[in-house]
Symmetry: C3
Subunit: 432 residues, 3 copies
């Protein structure tokens, strides 16, 4: 994929990226991740890092690297009944190499299917227990005749590296916003090619902004072990993270879900809540729980970094999750674009959330003589005019613009615009 | 209007005052305010103050004084189509003098009507932009034939003064309760002759109370510029304001609305909430927002005085608001009297809200041997007896009587009566 | 009643105890209480204390001791119309001795009935005013013919003692949990033979636990004066009470009601709320109010001990309350057993509520290599596994296990089990 031209709507451009990334067989290590990051690097300044297998990272150890060339099961009649080339979900991720002939009875414990979703191939992994397995639809499984099967997994599991990418966009401050997406899933679109696509387009957008306040870090790492490896190797940088988001499942048709940080009242929590509420998109705010994606590593007791998670469908709670039904038809350009827009507005809040003091704090300043007020009294007040009054009313040095937007129950952009107008008219100045 | 005799129900007496004030053409300056204050001074010790035009007050300047003798529009056929004598709303307040003949086309930008309320004359002002205009019903406007019109506004806009009134009723303490009402509206009853009437009758009632604790200040000033002028000229007194209320729209048939102070949890907020809840009148509590009447000046960052606002219909949210439909038929003696009663009870809470200590704090004192308890056990407890127990239970020096009434979900008068009874029996004493 | 064998279900055993206690005529002093405590002492180490009449206790004085042998009213025709032997509710508790012949008119002020519940005998007392009276059903009352009546109350009201019992089960800490039940009611089952039965069976259960953390104190004292007498004579011990419960009305068919401590957010309040919520029993949490049973003495300003109250039906709010309808048919073994179980779980929370630190706080520890995690990823997480993650996530030294269970919205036993498993695997240690 080339860098999209300005004329391509971002939804379509993100969807095209997902189409390109979809066939790649990713896992928590290996060439699938490398190939993915190489494609991302054409769109944003994503740098690739590698940590050797065997490296201790926090309580964990970087595992061996896994790669796979192909895999199949041939039936008693010699017909190929399962083929990795048709779907990389067919192989349990991290399956050790195998080439064997065995009866259906012996094979069966290595076969995974979903009785309640008979047409879907499940997604299964076995990173830390050396075994092998195939995933197939229940319908396929039910049709297997008795007899002997030829089984082949042409994989390697050897010392190598864990690969991850990061794009760092420096701002005026060393304070960081981190956007983290897991890149370890094979052909699953919603989880998490949508997260990856939104993240890399956010990086493109943010890179083009002049006068950036925060330093932004976009992480593309395998789930769990990737975040743990990053945290283990960035103990000095980690405390600079002021706000963070993990992104996943951003293309399905469910309402948005924002999962709060462990603290539950971080600025990122409030920014996400405000943007979702004032964008009037259907959504739910849910409390932190210590299961999910990499927000759990960032929020762990030793780090306690305020990282929330934005998704549409909640992982594990929709039937297509972690199955072959999470394909290109399950996500749409429009929904991905809307997700991008929500993320962008959240970042705008974080960037624009400053604290000011009203320079004419005694009574209301006379906006009329400054051209900031309708001249004829007696009618209702318009939105921007009310935003001006809110900013003047609460800018006492102890309220941020986010505080003000929350109380005004209005979009952050209106409050930010009102603040800029008041600054321009000498009625507002930065606090402190 | 003479001082009402004790036999006149206050609702009727307040309504009679409104009838007397209704025809007067008030604005933010001028003889209409002077005439109004002169009438109020017959009912309560209202003193009149004047601040000269041109005086700088906070971020503003006291404007020129406006007075008007008459105004009309004569049609092409010589017939008078608009006449100030029929309604002082017909002239945009602060219209500069004009005497001109001009075509309907030229006249039209000076004519204001309400297409969606075709029978009502709107109320319009132009205090800070020198212009002129007429207000009329949409029906009148639609009937104007083409042709030339003779237009006359016999007004003056000249250096003079801003006039306001205040009644100060000293109490044992210099701590103040302020009741503020705007007096700048011409012939509009609900907004704000009802506020003015309730305020002046509260002053009469409070003046008659012996052993007043707070100093009470009743302000009668034009909206915005009046409060600003008062604050500018009372920088030393302002911080003594402990509790305040602005009063408006107290005679219409909507449920009560109490608009909280900016802080939202001031004693006045809690007193108003308690009285409205325990009076079982339909009502809503709404959060502060920086638009409305003079509460916005008192609550501004430089002052942050805890001033809430009591109204029935919310300004700008009922169709009669700021139109000729806000007339004598729009308000009723009964509703004005109920509003007066709510205000009186709020002031009673502020006055009676003291903190005590239980002098027998270990276990429950034996109320029976003091005659404070029904002698035969086994049945339900009556309200006053429960109030006694609440006061004993919470009077540890850290709960005010208002705290106690809130927890007991009971009227303040019961809690106050219980406290007085316990004091009389030596079981309670002032804290500290 | 003998100590129940292990094979008797506790509900049945508690009901049998209630059957044995039911006929005894208890009051706030006297042999009824002594007989009751003697029965309890066969089940748990209940020690009996006596405080002489006339002893000053806090604001009160221990009253004379009341005992009764019999009482009756004989009608004009010599027929016995009321007989104490049929129900000890027939005599107003603390009635002075009387033997008189008097007309129905003179007798009537001494007769108490319930017009709205014509079949029930009310329960009435007159502890602190020396008088006498009879209680009877309205139906009985209505049938009394005019004429002269022979009235006899064979009671004594003389210097004696107030009797109460306590069972103290020492734990590793001097910090106490107090379970307090009033023992002053005559033949009323729900109020409070159920509270007494549940309490004494809790004492039996707790006594059998090795390694008890808290010292537990089970109090069996007459209402109000008993708690006051205990507090007066235990001024040094009282401050050691960390958590407490009064128990009453635990056998009726209403949903559970937990009445909070005055503070409202004590550990006992949260423990009760958690157990009731996670047991999924219908229940309501209600705020403290200074009327009810002995929680009001413990929570008084001088003591402010965090003692809540557990009940099913709320005293005074069901028609059988304090009438002869509160009999053996009004309570059931199953419901009493469920009440016992709720109480036991609350005590388990208090006992098990410790604070830990995660010893591998940076990121999530690798549970898999410790056998604490399912090996194959991609599926949903089970309850215990989520409990492990919750404990790890929040064990930073500032969250108790109760805090964690509340956030996890899960039963305390799961959280406690997860903590024990993590301790066993060296991942968790006591804080501080």
């Amino acid at each position: 994929m080339k860098a999209p031209s300005a004329s391509v709507p971002p939804g379509r451009a993100m969807y095209a990226l997902i189409e390109e990334l979809y066939p790649i067989c990713r896992s928590i290590t290996g060439n699938g991740v490398r190939d993915t990051l190489a494609i991302l690097a054409r769109l944003a300044p994503v740098e690739v890092r590698e940590i050797p297998s065997g490296t201790p990272v926090l309580d964990w150890t970087v595992p061996k690297e896994w790669n796979i060339k192909g895999a199949f099961i041939d039936g008693p009649d010699g017909r190929r009944v399962v083929d990795f080339r048709e779907s990389n979900l067919h192989v349990v991720s991290y399956s050790v190499p195998v080439r064997e002939r065995l009866s259906l009875e012996k094979l069966r414990p290595h076969l995974h299917a979903l009785p309640d979703r008979p047409d879907a191939i499940p997604y299964r992994t076995s990173y830390y227990e050396e075994t092998w397995g195939f995933c197939l639809s229940q319908r396929q499984l039910d049709e297997l005749p008795d007899g002997d099967y030829d089984v082949c997994i042409d994989s390697t599991l050897e010392p190598g590296a864990l690969t991850y990418g990061e794009a760092i966009l420096p701002g005026a401050s060393a304070d960081e916003i981190v956007i983290s997406t897991h890149v370890c899933h094979p052909s699953l679109c919603d989880d998490n090619l949508t997260g990856i696509a939104v993240s890399v387009f956010l990086a493109r957008w943010f890179a083009a902004i002049p006068n950036r306040r925060h330093t932004m870090r976009f992480l593309y790492a395998p789930g769990t072990i990737g975040a743990i490896a990053w945290l283990a190797t960035h103990r000095e940088e980690a405390p600079r993270i002021r706000h963070g988001l993990t992104l996943t499942c951003l293309g399905d048709s469910h309402p948005f879900t924002y999962k709060k940080t462990l603290g539950g009242d971080a600025v990122i929590d409030r920014a996400a809540a405000l943007v979702l509420a004032t964008s009037r998109v259907p959504h739910a705010l849910i409390d932190f729980f210590p299961y999910g994606y990499d927000e759990r590593q960032f929020n762990s007791p030793g780090f306690r970094l305020p990282v929330g998670s934005l998704m549409r469908g909640r992982h594990g709670m929709f039937p297509e999750y972690h199955t072959s039904a999470d394909d290109l038809s399950f996500v749409s350009p429009d929904r991905i674009e809307q997700s991008f827009e929500v993320c962008r507005q959240i970042i705008e809040v974080l960037e624009g959330n400053e604290t000011y003091v009203n320079l004419a704090p005694y009574g209301e300043p006379q906006l009329g003589r400054r051209g900031l007020y309708r001249a004829t009294g007696g009618t209702d007040i318009a939105d921007l005019q009310l935003a001006l009054l809110w900013v003047l009313s609460l800018s006492d040095g102890s309220h941020t613009l986010l505080d003000i937007a929350e109380r005004a129950k209005t979009g952050f952009r209106s409050i930010r615009a009102a603040a800029d107008l008041l600054i321009a008219h000498g009625l507002l100045a930065p606090a402190g």
